[in-house]
């Protein structure tokens, strides 16, 4: 997947890899025996397969209109029927998976790339940096998420990039708060004190000790946040303020289907089901990760 924010996507993944290799196998073992988390993983696997294989195995174009084929019922040629412009619904849904996943991952990656460092610095150093970052997060959190995203898209304009920016901004404060809370307790721990006494520079303490050790709750939240980001991005699409037609994004497909709700309700059923599945999968994996990383809370 070529994302417009590829560089932002890579940064946090590198950090995650540190945790996953040290404690990862243990977490994975617990996750594998967690039935609902495995349901989530299976749904996600299905979506990834749809994203990768869709374009190879299907013979219809997701954009090209064939008006004579509009509103066809399900048949062997069109397993889910066709839409108002005679485009194959299944093909459009499979193409839609890449937009939804890309939107979610890009927005959360930006949220992590900004939220985690800011939260760590804020919690570790305290003082005016902390005060400033806390007041700013207060203000951003004072806006209900969808309202802030709507307002941003209303002024920035619609389209994939602006939707990613709007959704990312709503997720930054949560990662700041979480990382800051962990950093606050980690900075008092003996090993951090020892590192400081040995003269390790603050930057190195942050990168090597504080950030890696605050990541457990951040990873859980990242998974839940992926679900929330997909939900929000699709909501913007639904209102006609997200990714624009004719791009087969699920939210905008659902929004346009409202015009045919009385004549062809199936056009509303499938895109919504696809969004629901993606959000459910990330929520189940997030819950599973929480149980796996912190068995106490089970």
């Amino acid at each position: 997947m070529a994302l417009p924010t590829a560089s932002a996507v890579e940064a946090p993944v590198v950090e995650l890899a540190v945790v996953v290799t040290t404690a990862g196998s243990r977490v994975w073992v617990r996750l594998r025996t967690h039935p609902s988390a495995m349901v989530g993983v299976s749904i996600l696997a299905l979506y990834v397969v749809a994203t990768l294989l869709g374009p190879l195995v299907l013979r219809w174009d997701p954009i090209h209109q064939t008006l004579s084929d509009a509103f066809l019922a399900a048949s062997s040629g069109h397993p889910l029927g066709t839409d108002d412009f005679g485009r194959d619904e299944l093909v459009r849904l499979m193409f839609g998976a890449r937009y939804t996943l890309a939107l979610g991952f890009a927005a959360v990656a930006i949220g992590l790339a900004i939220g985690v460092p800011v939260g760590a610095v804020s919690g570790y150093f305290g003082g005016w940096i902390d005060l400033l970052s806390q007041r700013v997060t207060d203000v951003v959190l004072a806006f209900p998420n969808i309202l802030l995203a709507l307002a941003l898209v209303a002024v920035l304009g619609v389209g994939l990039t602006n939707v990613i920016i709007a959704v990312a901004i709503t997720s930054i404060p949560i990662f700041i708060r979480l990382t800051r809370a962990s950093a606050l307790s980690i900075r008092e721990l003996p090993y951090v004190e020892a590192a400081r006494a040995l003269g390790v520079p603050s930057a190195a303490i942050l990168v090597r000790h504080v950030i890696p050790n605050s990541l457990a709750p951040v990873i859980v939240q990242a998974s839940l946040q992926l679900g929330a980001a997909i939900l929000l991005a699709a909501a913007l699409g639904f209102l006609g303020l997200g990714v624009q037609a004719p791009t087969p994004e699920w939210g905008s497909m659902l929004g346009l289907s409202r015009n045919y709700i009385f004549s062809d309700p199936n056009l509303a059923t499938f895109p919504g089901l696809a969004i629901f599945g993606a959000v459910l999968a990330f929520n189940l994996v997030g819950d599973g990760l929480r149980d796996a990383l912190d068995p106490r809370l089970r």
Binding site: S36, V136, P144, F238, P271, F276
Partner: protein, 302 residues
């Protein structure tokens, strides 16, 4: 009192963000607002109306000054004061949000208590599963599915509008409540599980108190704090969700006004609605904070 003071910088910050948002419009806001068919005179009139001829800091100060008189400007679409446009819609959104919250609390808390008392039973598993489903369900899709089922196929409830009295509230309220119901149920379950394991609950049971009395008077009362927190946060979700629910069901509330205003580039109204809903959210959070002290007398704010 201290809590009130802490809210002031947040309020100021919210007002500043709302002010700056308008300035993020690419190009000349007056041209964007006037639209493609406007004449130079139209653009000039709007520029003056919005005070865009003044220097930046003066615009900001006059914006804050007008806010202190509850003056949110004039709607470009209708020419009426923004505050008036909003306040004729508030009762609709308030009714919808209130009924939905009531529904979510009633069902969510009950389900959470039942799930906690029958931990790991089939009942618990289905309630916990249902809660995840509810929290993953796109509001906008649920609304459409309910319309298809109850308005298109069964023809028992209206598909939208507000002209059929309480019956027109049924589908929007259920749609808006589901997400919050799931979260409240989950939070209630985990808070109850924590409390049910404690000594005073065992003591209450041992002294022979009735089962429901132990559950409600001892356990639930002590589990209330995290539940109240989640309920308070749900208000933000409900206000945001109202934007979608009102659009789907043609419910003439503030959320629908926002979406319509974005569509017609009526930015003063957009500003006003975003500001009003965020300020309501801050106020609700403040009230939640104050409720803590009532729910748990150990908490005192100086």
């Amino acid at each position: 009192m201290r809590r009130l003071l802490v809210a002031i910088p947040t309020l100021l910050g919210v007002a500043t963000v709302v002010f700056l948002l308008m300035r993020l419009l690419p190009g000349d806001p007056a041209v964007v607002i006037a639209g493609p068919e406007a004449t130079a005179a139209d653009v000039d009139r709007i520029r003056h109306q919005l005070g865009l001829t003044l220097p930046f800091w003066q615009q900001y100060l006059s914006f804050l000054g007008r806010l202190s008189h509850a003056d949110l400007g004039i709607s470009i679409r209708t020419g009426a004061p923004v505050i008036q446009e909003i306040f004729t819609r508030v009762p609709f959104t308030a009714t919808l949000a209130f009924i939905s919250l009531l529904l979510a609390i009633l069902i969510g808390v009950t389900a959470g208590v039942i799930a906690a008392t029958r931990r790991n039973s089939t009942m618990d598993v289905s309630i916990s599963g249902g809660a995840v489903f509810g929290a993953s369900m796109p509001t906008y899709w649920l609304g459409l599915m309910l319309i298809i089922l109850f308005a298109v196929h069964l023809r028992v409830l209206p598909a939208g509008g507000s002209d059929r009295g309480p019956i027109s509230l049924v589908l929007p309220a259920i749609t808006l409540a589901l997400f919050s119901t799931g979260l409240i149920a989950r939070q209630t379950r985990s808070a109850m599980l924590e409390v049910l394991g404690q000594d005073f609950v065992r003591t209450a049971r041992a002294k022979g108190a009735a089962r429901t009395a132990v559950l409600i008077r001892h356990a639930l009362r002590n589990a209330l704090l995290p539940i109240v927190t989640v309920i308070g946060l749900q208000f933000g979700t409900l206000l945001g969700g109202a934007v979608l629910t009102e659009t789907i069901f043609a419910w003439p509330g503030v959320g629908r006004l926002l979406v319509d205003s974005i569509g017609s580039r009526d930015y003063p109204v957009v500003q006003g609605v975003v500001l009003l809903l965020s300020v309501s959210f801050i106020a609700i959070n403040l009230i939640t904070d104050l409720l803590y002290a009532y729910v748990d007398p150990r908490i005192r704010y100086g």
